[in-house]
């Protein structure tokens, strides 16, 4: 295309009609099929659940200040960490980036007017919010004490808690995942605008594609595991009972067959977001686009083959341990490639310090550390010593909190002007980002140490030799809590008093930025057309000397 369009269109004047103007009643929101509004519905609900899960663990960390506890009974403690796990995994992390940013940004990024099945999209939100609300109700009224992993025979025959109800809630929410996955896959396959070929898709779109595949294929296995536990518990069917020829390990295999890909569901979207942010704020193409795509796909596929590394001491055969250990080392390779590529993206860039970049950097560092500690756990002898200890707890929190939550924050801040048409306060955002990074390290580095020293997980009372580490960790948790509350405050403030944002405040190249902020209901002012690779921030082979913003060429035009 030879047309030269002004890449950064001035904003429409008020009253030009954004998606926010299409109906102001609550009903209009609750019956919307607009992917942008559904994304906001998701954002509000997952934020709520995040804070409920956060309160639960806040109570836990408070209790752990003393080795003999302060104010909880063991049963209450066990219910609290179970609540935390269930809510954070299934009602926060799994939906987080896909349901919010995937829903809002993905169609715009590929030049589509909406997702493939808008009504299914709304249904997926209702499944999510209904299932999650039901489960939280169950968790708060009596609770579940099995841990989020629901292992039998404890969960099926021994626990005196609302196992079936909680499992049912999670089961329902699983369908929300599947529906979202189906929707995104169909959207990316069929609704890309003219010119948006597969290898012009931004990496966020690719990450949505791969994560959707994983969601569709893995979630049903979880559904079946929960169903079997419930059948055993409710009907007395001896599914995992060795006396009837059964095996509790079958549950573990089925459960982890989902739950390992689940952690990739949690990290792949984060990787996608971070790619977008690094490119924009370093004014550089993402280094090695092809390898990045290949890595996403490899992680998605090989991620299905490593579930046994959660079961090295469970009683599976030594040969199985060897195979799963090997594959776990292999699956780390594409992640390492991505870390190197993100780092290389910064080379000779024009790097800004805006909040999204700070969060993305936090992701980069913490994901690297978390991933490396994964190698420790992939080594069977180290895993035997450290599994079911705080070392594992620290490992997965580093990736999920240090990684995914950081990336979630990066994305929220990056796309905030697009979604709301407002600019957030950059100083407070940077402050919160740095506080979050520091708070995270104070919370979880002590956990690595005490895990290696021998502190087991899911422990209400603990040997007093570990107290200093617990106190440090709980102190860090306070800092983290403050850091999480800050965005709630300044982002909400920006909605009412924030400076109005231009269409493309970051001068980004993505198609979603070539339209007003906030966008109209139909996403674009005219049918979009893509005519360039993504991340066209500089000429090939040369980095710009001055980082002149007008050099950044949008991926297409739509206004």
């Amino acid at each position: 295309m030879t047309d030269v369009t002004l890449p950064f269109a001035p904003p429409l004047d008020a009253g030009g009609g954004s998606y926010l103007d299409e109906g102001h009643t609550i009903l209009s929101w609750l019956t919307t099929t607009d992917h942008k509004r559904i994304a906001i519905l998701y954002a509000l609900s997952i934020t709520l659940f995040f804070f409920i899960g956060g309160v639960a663990i806040g109570l836990v960390r408070l209790e752990l200040i003393s080795p003999t506890g302060l104010f909880l009974t063991s049963d209450e403690y066990n219910r609290l960490f179970t609540i935390h796990g269930i809510i954070m995994v299934w009602f926060f992390l799994v939906p987080s980036i896909p349901a919010t940013m995937g829903n809002f940004i993905l169609p715009m990024m590929i030049g589509a007017p909406d997702v493939a099945f808008p009504r299914l999209n709304l249904l997926s939100w209702y499944l999510y919010v209904g299932g999650a609300a039901f489960t939280v109700y169950v968790l708060l009224s009596g609770g579940v004490d099995t841990g989020w992993t629901f292992y039998p025979p404890f969960s099926s025959d021994y626990s005196h808690s609302n196992v079936i109800a909680a499992a049912a809630g999670v089961f329902v929410v699983g369908f929300s995942s599947i529906a979202t996955g189906v929707n995104f896959l169909a959207t990316i396959h069929m609704l890309r605008c003219p010119g948006m070929t597969w290898f012009r898709l931004p990496l966020f779109a690719w990450s949505m594609y791969v994560v959707s595949m994983v969601m569709v294929l893995a979630t049903p296995v979880l559904a079946m595991s929960l169903l079997l536990i419930s059948a055993e518990r409710y009907f007395g069917l001896p599914i995992f009972d060795p006396r009837a020829g059964g095996d509790p390990l079958l549950f573990q295999h089925l459960f982890w067959f989902y739950s390992h890909p689940a952690v990739y569901i949690m990290i792949l979207p984060a990787m996608g977001v971070v790619s977008e942010v690094f490119a924009c704020f370093a004014r550089r193409r993402v280094f090695g686009y092809g390898f990045m795509v290949f890595s996403l796909m490899t992680i998605g596929v090989v991620g299905f083959m490593v579930w046994g590394h959660h079961m090295f001491v469970a009683g599976q055969s030594p040969l199985a341990n060897l195979v799963f250990s090997f594959l776990s080392f292999i699956v780390a390779v594409p992640s390492a490639i991505k870390v190197f590529n993100w780092t290389a993206t910064l080379y000779r860039g024009h790097i800004g310090f805006e909040a999204p970049m700070i969060y993305a950097l936090g992701f980069l560092g913490l994901f690297t550390i978390g991933g490396l500690t994964g190698l420790f756990l992939a080594s069977v002898p180290i895993d035997i010593a450290t599994t079911d200890s705080y070392f594992v707890v620290a490992h997965f929190h580093t990736i999920m909190v240090g990684g995914t939550v950081s990336a979630f924050m990066a994305g929220i801040h990056y796309w905030w002007p697009k979604v709301t048409g407002k600019l957030y306060n950059e100083f407070w955002a940077q402050f919160a980002a740095i506080t979050m990074f520091l708070g995270f390290n104070v919370t979880f580095l002590p956990q690595f140490v005490m895990g290696w020293l021998g502190m087991p997980r899911r422990y209400h009372y603990y040997p007093d030799v570990f107290q200093i580490w617990h106190i440090l960790s709980s102190g860090g948790a306070v800092i983290l809590a403050v850091a999480y509350l800050m965005p709630l405050v300044y982002l909400t403030w920006s909605l009412f008093y924030g400076e109005k944002s231009p269409g493309n405040p970051w001068h980004a190249t993505g198609l979603e930025w070539q339209t007003p902020s906030p966008p109209p209901k139909s996403n674009f002012l005219r049918p979009p057309r893509v005519n360039a690779e993504p991340y066209d921030y500089h000429d090939f082979g040369r980095a710009e000397e001055t980082g002149d913003e007008s050099r950044a060429r949008p991926q297409g035009d739509a206004s």
């Binding site: 493939a116 049903p220 296995v221 599914i239 009837a244 059964g246």
Partner: protein
Amino acid sequence: MSDAAGALREPWPNLQLQRQGVGLGMWMFLASEVLFFAALFCGYAVYRSFNAEAFRIASAHTEIVYGSINTVLLLTSSLTMTVALRAATVQLRGLTLFCLAATAALGAAFLVCKGLEYHEDLKQHLFPGPHFPLSPPATQMFWGFYWIMTGIHAVHLTGGILVVLLVFTLFKRRTVPVQGSTMEGVAIYWHFVDSVWLVLYPLLYLAGRP
């Protein structure tokens, strides 16, 4: 023409793409359903390999007559569904409606037959628990899986019947035109439910019979 315009939904640019999209979406949903049943069948397969003798003994007590009748009913319903889909594509509205109704009826007949079979099974106390008549203990495992596998299949079938009835109503009232993308999705799903039964049937009924 007006029918075709009514069939087109946001955000699809044209009806052909929409049909393809719905088909693709339904196949992907089916992929998740396949994994759902695969997890269950995997459990069955593992336990059968651990307890081959017990599973043979247990399977011999399934009601093969009911099971076989059900197989015929479902296969026929897949035939009527296929005809319905073809009829819809060439806009033979009457035939489409008739075949949809027939499909639902055959599905319902399956459920009735299944209900009678369950009644028979329960009369023989073939439900794992204190009155379970068979030994060795792993026969209870087989029967546990029997109830779960057939139960979940029945739930899916019921869902399918309800969807077929809903679609029938929407077509009858001309709320949705017959040649849209709806038929394709429904047909794919129905065939899937039938296929699951075609795997269930030999696993449960034929395992204990030479």
